[in-house]
């Protein structure tokens, strides 16, 4: 952890943003906003924080990552290709007929643990993984990235309760607090604040970081 310099990570996140914009422009489809806002989070996780091995994607001791806000897949695809999980040339098939590089994470592609895309599933899956790690007395961790609009899904809170109940200190839930969802501001669509207090009340240790930056 923390082996990359902040400068390197910033440059990498900018490269990912450029690449994903190119990808969405080229394919004429994609969820640009949520991908741009999560580029720094994903970059920090994949290039700095998580233990994983692109040459050996099924390495049993790897940290697990679940993109619960599965629509923000463009940055994720670019990072996986950049790290060598699959050839970069495959990125050009994004959303093309029959391609595995689709508009949501697809676990037929090396590096992707689970298919997501229906919001509100990722934290439950991650709770199951974290429980499994504890049962097997293994010390890998689970990281989940959720959207802030996604917080309106009841299942998120079912999973939040279970994580606290089972004291899953090997699970990190991240919320991309970009303030927006499809129809506008999260506070107009379905007020979420005080978000930190909600998570705190559900038994979580809450840390606020600047997600648009890599020094959080």
């Amino acid at each position: 952890m923390g082996i990359q310099s902040e400068q390197n990570l910033k440059m990498k996140a900018n490269q990912i943003r450029r690449d994903l914009l190119h990808m969405v422009h080229h394919a004429k489809t994609g969820h640009t906003g949520g991908s741009l806002s999560s580029a720094d989070i994903l970059t920090t996780l994949f290039y700095d924080v998580m233990h994983h091995d692109p040459v050996n994607p099924d390495w049993p001791a790897r940290d697990r990552f679940i993109l619960s806000k599965g629509h923000s897949v463009e940055g994720y695809w670019n990072i996986l290709a950049d790290m060598g999980y699959f050839p970069k040339t495959q990125l050009e098939t994004f959303s093309k007929f029959g391609s595995p590089i689709i508009g949501h994470p697809n676990n037929k592609v090396p590096g992707v643990e689970m298919n997501t895309g229906a919001l509100g599933h990722g934290l439950s899956i991650s709770v199951g993984m974290a429980i499994a790690a504890k049962m097997k007395k293994e010390d890998w961790r689970v990281f989940t990235l959720m959207g802030d609009g996604e917080q309106a899904e009841g299942s998120v809170w079912e999973a939040a309760m279970a994580a606290a109940h089972y004291k899953l200190d090997n699970l990190v839930g991240i919320i991309d607090r970009n303030g927006l969802q499809i129809s506008g501001s999260t506070e107009d669509v379905m007020a979420l604040e005080p978000m930190d207090e909600k998570w705190h009340a559900f038994g979580w240790h809450v840390v606020k970081v600047d997600g648009l930056g890599t020094d959080g």
Binding site: P60, R64, N107, E113, M114, N115, T116, G117, A118, G120, H121, L123, S124, I125, S126, V127, G128, M129, A130, I131, A132, A133, M135, K136, G154, S155, E158, A159, M161, A162, H165
Partner: protein
């Protein structure tokens, strides 16, 4: 009268297998009692995961556990597991290909007097339409044991629907040829075929005995695996007997009868009767009363067979 319900057979089999298979885990949603899983929870507390009344999380958590190499058995009322959790079943289990076995307990009209909220009469239709998940209805405690053994040996995304009450044995013991996806022919008649699954198998057999005395010789197919579907056995029955009556504790839409009709109508059309629960909220009552009301009991099945073959 057998006193062991299928849910108890699930628990007993899992407890036996768990002694040597450390990957078996059981999840429940405040349902360990109704699932007969309390003995498992007491014996293997570290392998029993209580999720509380949160059926979406229940299935998602199980999928995460399966993706991490465990063999989760999820035990929750069929009515909730097949409706409240269905998106998790579709995406986290079937689509992601996680080897979660969903055990839908108190299936069909087991909770007869509790009303439609607690009936699961659409579960087969829903599960059957999702690619990548096997669907099972074991007929008795012995078949339940064999099925659980097979699913532990060959983990796969699966939905197993069982009832709440003890059912009369169909098999004399657990020692019979059992294979996932292979129907069991329980009677070899040539005049008409009765196809049943789960709790309708015993009444189908009883109906065949009533009819035999009248000179109507029934073939009885126990289709314990609804999916993958045993096309061969069903087509053979259509060709050789010329009439098919299906009997299911399920809506007449989308279940066993529909599966049979989809195949037979396209490959070898024969006159059919689909016996099941009509398109209405099922009448409240005990399972036996509801079965008799809708003709799912032996007398009702015999009536359906006579009517079809004499038309």
């Amino acid at each position: 009268m057998n006193k062991i319900p299928n849910r108890q057979a699930v628990c007993e089999t899992l407890m036996e297998l768990s002694a040597t298979d450390p990957d078996i885990v059981v999840l429940a949603s405040d349902s360990r009692g109704s699932a007969s899983m309390a003995p498992f929870a007491a014996r293997f507390p570290e392998r029993f995961v209580e999720i509380g009344i949160a059926e979406q999380n229940l299935v998602g958590v199980a999928a995460g556990m399966a993706a991490s190499g465990l063999k989760p058995f999820v035990t929750s009322p069929a009515c909730f597991l097949s409706m409240r959790s269905i998106e998790q079943v579709k995406v986290d289990v079937a689509y992601s290909k996680t080897n979660v076995v969903l055990v839908g307990i108190s299936g069909g009209v087991s909770y007869g007097a509790l009303g439609m909220s607690h009936h699961s009469l659409q579960d087969l239709a829903v599960m059957r339409a999702i690619p990548g998940i096997s669907v099972f209805l074991p007929a008795d405690r012995h078949e339940t044991r064999r099925l659980v053994e097979a699913l532990v040996a060959n983990p796969q995304p699966a939905y197993v629907r069982i009832g709440r009450n003890p059912v009369e044995d169909v098999h004399e013991s657990a020692d019979f040829p059992f294979e996932i996806g292979k129907a069991i022919c329980l009677a070899e008649g040539k005049d008409v075929t009765i196809i049943a699954a789960g709790e309708t198998v015993r009444p189908a057999l009883d109906a065949s005995l009533i009819l035999e005395a009248e000179g109507i010789f029934c073939r009885v197919l126990n289709l314990h695996t609804i999916k993958p579907f045993d096309r061969e056995a069903v087509l053979k029955a259509a060709r050789e007997t010329g009439f098919i009556v299906t009997v299911e504790e399920h809506s007449i839409h989308g279940g066993l009868g529909a599966a049979v009709a989809e195949l037979v109508s396209q490959v070898c059309p024969v006159p059919m009767k689909i016996v099941g629960i009509p398109d209405e909220p099922a009448i409240p009552g005990t399972s036996a009363e509801v079965f008799a009301h809708y003709g799912l009991d032996a007398a009702g099945i015999a009536r359906a067979v006579r009517k079809l073959t004499q038309c």
